[in-house]
Subunit: 157 residues, 2 copies
DNA sequence: TCGATATAGAACTAATCTAGTACCGATTGC
DNA sequence: GCAATCGGTACTAGATTAGTTCTATATCGA
């Protein structure tokens, strides 16, 4: 139900890694190793997070990534949104009806905006600072790394 | 970001249709026509909702579907959960670690349960009664019906 | 009792999406 | 200048989704 992609999962892992590094810059290779993620994947995700303005990147030798803001000022919604694109409500509501206004049977009640807002609010209420605290009742990984050819368990959220 | 399947979207449409029918039973054909959904699709979804106990079905001529409980007692979480399976937290937390306990790198903090719970709470706070009220600021459809061969716009939630 | 109407359930297919990899270019420190 | 790193795009195999089809079962009414 309401699944999140593995990219977003990994993204949160990487962000918590950076949050714990206390503003020290870490390279993609270091972060990937720390979180046991394949380097190309981690690299791809870090690029996206930097492009979204959540990370600051430093190129060249001794380069790396660090958080663009304090962990308290970054929410789960920020991270997930950066990796999975804008929430739907921005695609088909308000002034922007692209892809929807063409449809002849758009007569249905506005339940989705309400749901979107509820979920968005829930995600925005969770900060990276909270997620970085290593005090969970149960250590849990929902999206464990799985090499491309291996069977998988589902990843519903 | 955090997408919901079209089935769940259609499911909510169909449920609101039944909620507005005020406990009168409606056939799959009637509901499908009302919501402009292809009959086989509507039929498939209604079957699933009935199996999940959200609808009561009446077979045979003059048969149809009606709500198993009052619209106020049915939440968005119920509908989405019925169509997209149990939420992840039940698959990999508490006593039930199937598919996760085997993994060697399960050392990560428990951020997902927190997020799961937040989203689940948000969805549970929205009742079918609310969703059935035709008073939205903007009538919106996120998952418009699209014949199998047609291009699509994304459907992020 | 028979036939029309409806739901129950499983199986199948095409299109789309996801996860992960590979490659090449640009920057920077030593 | 060269090695270390990030930036960006393109590609592929596998999984998932969306929708259809087929057959079985139940019920109403003539």
């Amino acid at each position: 139900m309401i699944r999140i992609t593995r990219e977003a999962d990994y993204g949160i892992l990487l962000m918590t890694g950076l949050a714990q590094a206390e503003s020290q810059a870490l390279s993609a290779a270091v972060l990937a190793q720390q979180r046991r993620l394949p380097l190309p994947m981690a690299s791809k995700i870090l690029k996206a997070l930097a492009r979204a303005g959540l990370l600051v990147s430093q190129r060249g030798a001794q380069g790396g990534y660090s958080l663009a803001r304090s962990p308290a000022a970054i929410s789960a919604a920020d991270i997930i949104g950066a990796l999975e694109g804008p929430i739907a409500i921005t695609e088909c509501s308000g002034e922007n009806h692209d892809g929807c206004s063409r449809l002849e049977h758009c007569e249905v009640s506005g339940h989705w905006p309400r749901i979107n807002q509820a979920i968005h609010a829930a995600l925005q209420s969770i900060s990276l600072l909270e997620m970085s605290r290593p005090d969970p009742p149960q250590p849990i990984r929902l999206h464990p790394f799985r090499p491309a050819t291996t069977a998988t368990t589902g990843h519903p959220l």
